[in-house]
Symmetry: D2
Subunit: 344 residues, 4 copies
């Protein structure tokens, strides 16, 4: 059994790791940390896990974590980078669900997160954990930067068109994205209240959101050149789910758009290209690691419009983290993840 540690287990991504790993045949959580809840049973905080785990939260302790084979960071940004070096030196492999190792450029990290990066050398070796792009590099990585939720949905949607060279020269891509409220985390914030977010809809972060540089970096890597992209996130009165609506200006929209996607994702265990004409719903991937994608032509014939949905807590966070764990430890990539979504 792979011994797993989870640092910062009191948020939604931490709880989701516990839920997913409870079903994992070859990995077991042995350390679960929380400064605030130390001593408390995990299932006291998360009663849905009663009967699924006997773990207690414990105060974070490097020595304890060093006994793990792999450590997940389900913390806000700024924590993983201060603990990474010590864990690596003990042979522990790291999957960071926070932003600490996502942006390749420490200057960009400083600009968007307001912090000096604590270990640029580890950043240097970190692999961006989007298996559909970096599968082989993930297998041997010591540190995986688990992608952000929006960037996952957006990159998987644009990917086939960019790789096929279909984006019009000089054109700007538009990524209009919508997220359920769990994306804001399990913190008592006014804007996340039922009566503030419920029965309403709004955009946020229009003039700049931290997932923008991650998206821009990812698309540039795929394209081999800088691509302009407009990214606007929105808050949807639902619990889980991200829907990315992607607008790709083309010089000419090819006839085989559908085939471009089907070919690219043939064999991918967690990307489902829907039939032509489909409109994927976020609930069709609820609780699941699948990304479902459909591609359309616009009425004016000048754009491809891609619809890409994920569960932000699974493929957009903890599920992709387990997928990366599976890759890193040579397991079947689908271990603990091949379960049907929950609908309705």
């Amino acid at each position: 059994m792979i011994k797993v540690g989870i640092v910062g287990g009191t948020g939604y991504t931490g709880a989701e790791l516990l839920r997913l790993l409870a079903q994992h045949p070859q990995a077991q959580v042995s350390v679960l940390t929380s400064r605030k809840e130390a001593g408390e049973r995990a299932d006291a905080l998360f009663p849905h896990l009663r009967g699924q785990t006997d773990l207690h939260f414990e105060a974070p302790d490097t020595a304890r974590l060093q006994q793990c084979d792999a450590v997940f960071f389900a913390t806000p940004h700024g924590t993983a980078m201060t603990m990474a070096r010590e864990l690596l030196d003990s042979g522990v492999r790291i999957i960071d669900l926070s932003a600490d190792f996502r942006l390749r450029d420490p200057a960009a990290f400083r600009q968007w997160y307001g912090l000096e990066h604590a270990c640029p050398d580890v950043l240097e070796e970190a692999v961006y954990g989007l298996p559909e792009v970096n599968r082989e590099r993930i297998r041997s990585a010591r540190v995986v930067a688990n992608p952000g939720c929006y960037p996952t949905a957006v990159q998987l949607g644009f990917l086939p068109l960019i790789e096929a060279g279909l984006v019009a020269e000089g054109a700007a891509l538009v990524a209009d994205c919508k997220s359920g409220v769990s994306g804001a985390g399990r913190e008592a914030k006014l804007g996340s209240l039922y009566c503030e977010a419920g029965d309403s809809f709004k955009a946020y972060g229009v003039s700049g959101h931290r997932h923008w540089p991650e998206i821009a970096q990812g698309l540039a890597q795929i394209a081999g050149r800088k691509l302009d992209v407009c990214f606007v996130p929105h808050l949807v009165p639902m619990i889980r789910g991200i829907h990315a609506t992607l607008y790709v200006p083309m010089d000419r929209v090819p006839d085989d758009l559908q085939a471009v996607f089907e070919r690219r994702y043939a064999g991918e265990p967690f990307v489902d290209v829907m039939p032509a004409g489909a409109h994927p719903e976020t609930r069709s991937v609820r609780a699941s690691n699948v990304c479902r994608i459909a591609v359309h032509r616009s009425v004016d014939g000048r754009h491809a419009i891609v619809l890409s949905v994920i569960d932000n807590l699974v493929k957009g966070a903890s599920g992709q983290a387990v997928q990366n764990l599976n890759l890193m430890f040579g397991l079947d990539e689908r271990c603990a993840l091949d379960v049907p979504p929950l609908a309705p």
Copy 2:
């Protein structure tokens, strides 16, 4: 008192007309028709109106409607155009909340609605009821085509930028729109069920939606030339509200974007330009006739991004219809409409 008739009063827009007109000091509903519910009390169908109305539904009868000063059509498309001529001939003025008189071109109507237009001559004289564009023509109109919900939010959002000549030459506009479920009407349809639309998000009609030609026609009228526009509607798990996120590519984004909007809408009773940096929420206009708008620059500096919200049943339907009634009958445009929105 202006005597008002409502044809097709059993849907959400019909109920909303009853709610709004219950507060109108100078108009009174005297005829309310429904083939299916004839004989039934209105407040039996709509218990929230108990104590606010004593009306009964009656079978549609032209003679009864001819005694009205104005008749609202809150019917599906295809009804108003068959009754319009007779009512006009009796001096009744018409406000059609359906699509029958929205598209100027009967051929476009045929293409998008699959019907031959029943009275092209009436269509000829009909005025598109967007007061912020056609206020003076509405005052004297005999037939007003009340705009669609999406087209209202979209046109009011693009309007100042188009009028200011700021749209980049040859560029395509993007209108990514989100609507609450009430936009699908009060019909027992599978896709509108709580368990189908709840806790989920999806796009629909991506390859062609009937509001697209209406938007394209409106923008062309404003611009004085054809403008390319990509329009994608989405379904939000909320009851009321439309949020339009509008992407306007510019050759150069001017410094005074905010002023462009503030100048254009100064004095408009039902358009509220939010402060710079704001993100309007749909709930901030719930139950109200106000359209709130905010404008941003994109991070890449190449786009203006406009956020425009309305209540789809009020400014997007029945409220705008009452606003048009007020204009047509020389009343204060705000009669019955100057009430605070409901939040939370």
Copy 3:
């Protein structure tokens, strides 16, 4: 114009007072306090009120409040009782939406709220502001204790049966109550998050809730004797609304249950007895001061079952407070409150 002050205007009941009073023809808010938001515009916190108010929050200042004719307290418990004496001495009349003056017995207040009562003499003269029970005393009251939300729905539902002497001797009443999340206030609390309260249902406070002694006291006053009552509140994933399901064991269920209710509430402007067999929905009173009630017999024939719904922020708080203001100042009781509910 009656000059009104609102102490503690940043919560949902404060915002709701602003919304309702914006439409009041004879009262005007002239002072609005908040320690935390002092200097901020009210409509910056509550964008739905843009165009409806120009007020700024100010730090609470007794001298300013003493210039008002009436002051509403929309504060947590413990504040009104420390400011009441000084305001009364200046001739200001008080409507307290908190719990400070609800329980007649200072010892009960201490037991349930954990505070010594700061002004038992003012408590002595305070009138419990349920107009359907205490209308005449409210008219002349200097201090009105605005009832809690659950107690309003529960008392109005039990009232006709208790007054008619129909409750079985020695039997216990059951009040199973359900509230929307706005009842928990506009505070950033974990349990009120969208992702904690959404798509779920639970009871809370089963072993003791502060509205229990208020209910017990009210029912005892109506009955002229102590009545046993079991009260369980529940949290519903909706924004506004309370539904009380009341079980009344009877020695024999009379034939004219419906008439008992209709007679008792004939002429009451804000209690609507629904037709026999009806099931009132909370949305049928959304945004409105109406309480809708239906009464049924149980299948076993041994109970009356009463269904009573209110909007917790209106009849359950701010609307009833305005109703009390109207009574205290000799106005039409319906001023600013006779508006249709919002559905859907």
Copy 4:
């Protein structure tokens, strides 16, 4: 592998059977019927099952079903009883999720369902499929009547107190129950629309609901005598979940209420007695076959109050059906059901 047929697979309980059985190591769905959708792929109707099943709907055909080892009926009442005899004669065992075999007395069936029972002899041998009560009889049953959703939550909640003889003589039990909208099924009905059921709460069926006789029959079997019970169902704006709030009048409430429950359910794989003072949330059992229960004393000390939650589509329908399948075929009762619930 056990060959399983599902009759009527287009509703929510049918889809849920497919979801659960997709994970079953020893059972496989080989026939899936729907008159209306014959020929259609199951995952075209239920896109969340893409990649989990290759089944097509087929028209119901007895010969095909006779090749199964077990057949689930996920049909409205009235279907199973017309097909049961023929299947039994072929050695097929039946698990009926409809009401056809729940009421022991054909006269009661006629009274509540308005149909003459088609096979009273089969009814005679049918076993009521509540494993916590009838486990041994289920193992050998040829026909299992899968309990209704409300009756499951209600009976499991009352059971320990009734068995312990704690219900006061002559007293009436109260079962105030709340269900998510999926309980109304996947039919296009007005009352199940998002805009009708959303952001609102109501009771229904107060004067008589079909689950009442089933509850009364079950409680009588447990008690060995008739017990009066008041049952009121309510509709909650959520997708899944039932919450039963149960009021049990007692002559004296014993000190060890908690132990009564813990003892009774020790060893039960799918009943979780929460710690004293707990308030189970429906989401804590979402997607799971667990029933979570907490017991409280009322403030007045005269009642036990039991809170019992289930997922209406799992323990209240398809999950319990799979549990029964496991028992009938000698498998581990937890097969395919021992998965963590989904929260948030």
